[in-house]
Amino acid sequence: MMIKMTINGDVVEVDVKPNETLLDVLRNKLYITGPKEGCGNGECGACTVIYNGKPINSCLVLAPEADGAEILTVEGLTKNGKLHPIQEAFIEENAFQCGFCTPGFIMSTKALLDRKKNPTREDIVEALAGNLCRCTGYQTIIRAVEKAAEKLGVKE
């Protein structure tokens, strides 16, 4: 069935089947490969996208449901070829190694900072507990989120 979504500001129409997930459609049909599949079970957060304003696991959404949805993926964060402050913060704080989890973390961070300007460590932990990272040990990720909050605060 045809569905229509707004992805990173673009209206996209695509033919989907019920047994495909939103993640399958983004990656395999639209070649939006920023969101990754780390488990397909909602456990790792690598597939996190912002869906109608909220971070969710795109691997748990059946594709037809997404008809009419507004979706933001990591690809939608850069503007005019420039990095988003969250992305800058991830670089400055060395908040990634292999990078496979990074798009998911960045989207969870974006959603967190959209709802809380000055998150505490506890807020950060709550917002990012659904994103697994096997490489970094998370310490630099926490710092990157704090730094991103600062950057965004300063900008406003």
């Binding site: 047994n19 990656r27 395999n28 070649y31 490969t33 920023g34 969101p35 990754k36 599949e37 780390g38 488990c39 397909g40 079970n41 456990e43 790792c44 690598a46 993926t73 990591v74 690809e75 964060l77 850069t78 990095l83 992305q87 991830f90 670089i91 400055e92 060395n94 990634f96 190694q97 292999c98 990078g99 496979f100 989890c101 990074t102 798009p103 960045i106 460590r121 950060i124 932990v125 709550e126 990012l128 507990a129 659904g130 994103n131 697994l132 990272c133 096997r134 490489c135 970094t136 040990g137 998370y138 310490q139 630099t140 990720i141 926490i142």
Partner: protein, 776 residues
């Protein structure tokens, strides 16, 4: 060599791609007309295949190829060629590939799997390597006939794929000299690497007979070699391309699941075939860390001097050994780790069971060996009533002494004492932790040391090619894979210093392509900066010499009077006189048009110097090229009612030689410590009593999350420059994972006075241990 970039926190060169989601991993690659593969797997831990009929699957519309062992009767393996690509007469673990399908879509491939008919006859299985050694069930009856590197010592009638022996000094005399004999037993179960990117590969077999494989591989060249060997294709016709790897930790070293897509590709020339493992497949059917049972007997003097150490390590190698053979060997020749013991007898056995396949895992046997050694050091300290740190200090492997294989430790080998001291300082060792108000919660601190050398063949080689371009920028061709460790960044810094040019003018060629890149053994063993650094040094010398030789002709001065700096080559005693590098690096052209020289291409190779194999009976020899020492410490809080353990603080200090990039190195240590904490507290591959795996998804195989990490984690360094490295560097990548579990176990003892000798320290085990203590 200049000293401008090395030692600084230069930003990662892979940063932009990774934070924007544009970094390409194999799973992100698509080709027109690509086929999708799916694999039929064994539901039994051990069974005979009585019948395998794929005819219905072949007939399904959209199916392009179905392969089984009949079509692809090959085995693979790096050190021991024991692992068939598809099970032949029998299956040996749950998840073992039996057949594979390539179809127009993933769905069709899945449907085809359901049409394959297999009849199994379950065979008696064995899950405990100690049982397996009795040889009642033989998992590889044909082991004696398998191809293997001669340094591995098989005992086929006992399911043993390698038996390593260390015999040093006189063990009996050692025990006679001892005032105390202290014995202990230690265990750890299999664990899973859990790279966030599951294994994946794409294969393409051209009508011209050339095979290309894109793989999430740590070791493109070794992968090429092993594919070529298994499928009997000449090396030059096999091309491996390795884009970014989303975490490896040893699990993507050597060869893994690539043979499956290759077997399919050979059937359908002209088509790309993609196979990306699901998380479940990744857990079941790649490799895991081997489990281990250790028995230690130490002879100790009253003052704490250890005079004898006898140990038996029995590794649960799983159904196939291949890479795991060398894990068993490395653990064998390194025991007793960072301590000097004059009289040693160590037996390390790799044993087949019907568990998942064991293989390389960050630490490569050292997480296992240090688990037993460091736990036993604590036990000795307890029995002697000595402080555990003091006991360690007393027995350290210091310059002038020899290690287990008889190698002499030099001043430049590294300073384990300094690591321990620093770690002790950072954890405030000796200062009692502040106890929580709740009397049911108790805090404690623990410390442990470690040592590890690269475990590699004596001739594991590296090479580097440096190409200058018209504008005097450089591309660096080197075939260590960027798996997250930051290699491409560090090597850029090192190249900039070696070539005396700005780092911004250097690009590391990526992805690695075995057709274009120079040879590299593997991205394993924490050896990359050390080995490639040495090759790079030579390649840079080569390039600089070419530049100086051309300039020498133009300027009429001897090459040794010339120096390269940033954008020019100048006369040392008259720096104002120079030629821009742009006029040299493509060859110099005189005003009248005639040209000399030509494009500057530097090349450098390196093999470890003066290594020898070990004596098979004594384990004496010179197989380790450089050693990295370290120390780790933990502070924990234990809830004595529920048995829950909270790690409050972790500290890791490593003698890294020269630290190339402090930011990246710190990241390695913090990440490694958290990866070490998982198996200490909860990670474990579990099987039910029938041997069926029950932790085959992230729902049941848990990793540390951001909510599990200690609030405080500190990484620090000691810098004893490594004399065998042109840059003074040595490896630190695997090391941070190694001694976290024993440090946590020591901290638990400090907190509540119980010894945990089996990993993981689940709440249940803690409570059981507390009860046993009460009952005593």
């Amino acid at each position: 060599m200049r000293n401008k970039y090395v030692g600084k926190s230069y930003p990662r060169v892979d940063a932009y791609e990774k934070v924007t989601g544009t970094a390409t991993y194999v799973t992100d690659m698509f080709f027109p007309g690509m086929l999708y593969a799916a694999v039929l797997r064994s539901p039994y831990p051990h069974a005979k295949i009585k019948k395998l009929d794929v005819s219905k699957a072949r007939e399904l519309e959209g199916v392009r190829a179905v392969v089984t062992a009949e079509d692809s009767p090959y085995r693979q393996g790096i050190y021991l060629v024991d692992r068939p690509i598809f099970a032949t007469d029998r299956v040996r673990y749950v998840g073992e590939p039996v057949a594979a399908v390539a179809a127009d879509s993933w769905e069709i491939a899945q449907k085809a799997l359901e049409l394959i008919e297999v009849e199994y006859e379950p065979l008696p299985a064995v899950f405990d390597p100690r049982e397996a050694m009795k040889g009642e069930v033989l998992i590889h009856p044909d082991l004696a006939n398998y191809e293997r590197m001669p340094i591995y010592n098989i005992e086929p009638e006992k399911n043993v794929f390698h038996h390593h022996k260390t015999r040093k000094g006189d063990i009996e005399k050692g025990f006679e000299e001892a005032d105390y004999i202290i014995e202990g037993e230690y265990y750890l179960p299999q664990i899973y690497h859990a790279p966030l990117e599951p294994h994946g590969a794409i294969a393409y077999y051209g009508f011209d007979g050339n095979l290309t494989v894109w793989s999430s591989a740590q070791s493109p060249f070794t992968l090429r070699n092993l594919i070529a060997h298994a499928f009997k294709i000449p090396r030059h016709k096999v091309r491996v391309i390795a884009p970014y790897v989303g975490g490896g930790f040893g699990g993507k070293a050597g060869i893994n699941m690539e043979g499956i897509v290759v077997a399919l590709a050979l059937k359908v020339p002209g088509k790309h075939i993609k196979l990306i493992y699901t998380r479940e497949e990744d857990i079941m059917a790649t490799v895991v860390r081997q489990g281990m049972y250790a028995k230690v007997k130490a002879g100790v003097k009253k003052d704490g001097t250890i005079v004898a150490w006898q140990e038996e390590m029995i590794f649960d190698g799983g159904a196939y050994a291949e890479y795991g053979t060398n894990v068993v060997r490395a653990a064998g020749y390194t025991t007793p780790g960072p301590y000097y013991v004059p009289n040693l007898k160590v037996d390390s056995y790799g044993v087949y069971t019907n568990h998942f396949v064991g293989g390389a895992f960050r630490g490569f046997g050292h997480g296992e060996l240090h688990w037993a050694v460091e736990r036993h050091m604590d036990k000795i300290a307890q029995e002697l009533g000595m402080d555990p740190l003091e006991l360690r200090m007393k027995n350290l492997l210091k310059p002038g002494l020899t290690n287990a294989m008889g190698q002499k430790i030099h001043e430049h080998t590294g300073d384990v004492e300094a690591c321990l001291k620093k770690a002790a300082e950072l954890i405030e060792y000796g200062k009692k932790p502040e106890q929580p108000k709740d009397p049911k919660k108790r805090r404690g601190k623990g410390i442990a040391a470690l040592v590890k050398a690269p475990a590699m063949p004596t001739n594991a080689a590296s090479s580097v090619v440096i190409k200058f371009h018209e504008d005097a920028t450089v591309t660096l061709q080197v075939s260590i894979q960027e798996i997250g460790q930051g290699f491409n960044t560090a090597i850029t810094q090192m190249a900039a210093d070696a070539l005396h040019i700005p780092a911004e003018k250097i690009k590391v060629v990526f992805p690695i392509d075995t057709d274009a890149n120079p040879y590299e053994w593997q991205t394993v063993a924490s050896r990359a900066l050390w080995t490639v650094g040495n090759a790079l040094y030579r390649a840079a010398e080569d390039a600089l010499n070419q530049i100086k030789n051309i300039a020498s002709q133009v300027l009429g001065v001897a090459p040794y009077n010339l120096e390269v700096e940033d954008d020019r080559v100048y006369i040392k005693y008259d720096p104002e006189t120079y030629i821009p590098l742009t006029d040299i690096v493509m060859g110099y052209t005189y005003p009248d048009g005639h040209a000399i020289g030509g494009p500057v291409i530097g090349r450098g190779s390196f093999v470890p110097e003066r290594l020898t194999n070990l004596d098979p009976e004594t384990g004496q020899g010179n197989v380790a090229a450089e050693w990295t020492f370290g120390a780790e410490a933990a502070e924990v809080e234990v809830d004595m009612e529920t048995g829950e353990v909270k790690v409050l603080k972790l500290v890791g200090v490593f003698d890294a030689g020269r630290v190339v990039n402090p930011m990246v190195a710190t990241g390695q240590i913090i990440g490694g410590m958290v990866q070490g904490m998982g198996p200490a507290l909860f990670e474990q591959i579990k099987y039910d009593e029938k041997g069926n795996p029950i932790t085959i998804s992230f729902t049941d195989y848990k990793l540390p999350t951001i909510a599990d990490i200690p609030e405080e984690m500190i990484a620090d360094f000691v810098e004893t420059y490594e004399a065998t490295s042109a840059f003074g560097v040595r490896g630190i990548a695997e090391h941070p994972m190694i001694s976290v579990p024993p440090a946590i176990a020591a901290a638990i003892y400090d907190a509540i006075g119980v010894n945990l000798n089996e990993m993981p320290f689940t709440p249940e085990k803690i409570l059981r241990a507390l009860k046993e203590k009460e009952n005593k």
